[in-house]
Amino acid sequence: MSVEKFAQHLYGTAISTDLRETAWIVPAVQSIHIVAIAAVIGAAIVMDLRLAGVLATDETPRGVVKRHLPWMWAGLAVLLTSGFVLGLAEPYRVLTNLVFWVKMALVLTGFTLTLLFRYPILHPDYRIEHARAAKLIKPMAWASLAIWVLVVFCGRWIAYYQ
């Protein structure tokens, strides 16, 4: 089944119609989506800039990641849930949109970088200078921050790119 057919099928389902026809649902879920991306961006700024050696360098990476990683996971979970509802309400708007798929690829990359470069830091024996990919940590911190910024841009451009 093609993406267009699938979007068409989804559009016709009762739940999709209900979500669209209740006027406040889409803006409310979009607002929740923006609050969640704010939480992710806040956590990313502190963690990534700490690992890049710019912010709070007198605190251990572990202490910083321990505080902010749970908020990033929580933010991503809310983003995924609210994004799913938005896609269900307006499948044509997203599923057939190139910017949406670019955004999903970026989210997957950002998620993978977080898993690979943040999660191990939580281990009590972790020492940043002895880490396996120690040289990659700084550039990957900047890359991760850039990815979340691009995700915000793509999110807004889904509405304009056809």
């Binding site: 006027a23 889409v26 803006p27 409310a28 979009q30 607002s31 923006i34 609050v35 991306i37 704010a38 939480a39 992710v40 961006i41 806040g42 956590a43 700024i45 502190v46 700490r50 912010l55 709070a56 605190e59 202490g63 910083v64 505080r67 902010h68 910024v149 915000v152 841009f153 999110g155 807004r156 451009w157 509405a159 304009y160």
Partner: protein, 171 residues
Amino acid sequence: MVPSLETQSGLMQTLYDSAIGTAIRESGTLFPWIESVHVLMIAIVVGTIAIVDLRLIGFSSHRRGARQLIVDMLPFTWVAFVFAIITGSLLFLSNATGYYESMPFRFKLLAIVIAGLNMAVFHLTAYRRIGEWDDRLPTPNAAKIAGISSLTLWILIVFLGRWIGYSYPLA
């Protein structure tokens, strides 16, 4: 009190007709680019303020002391806030008469003013005595109240901002 549309309509029409306003309105891509930067700046403002607010409410953070955490986060908040104001003003110019009439837009500005007053009150009260509670958890009630009201107001500001595009006259 908000001035009536009649007394302000001349000014709003002038802003609407301004070269910048017209350029943004007539370009197919300027508005979404400026809007994307606006959303990013709001995400930075709300994200960094939330980190401070949660500490004021009583969640521990990457800094033991609340004052050092505020020093860490506030530069990001302020720079992003200035860019949010600049991009927001540009978006306003593109349709000044429309935004002026929009109730969610009016309430959004009002909520930003209240959030500013809330911050001023915090700085003049609890923050003056921060030496007494800087590295203490739970935080004093004055700090908790400042944190809860700030977080509530900023979330409200996001909702009102999103509602502008879904209500009269900009829906």
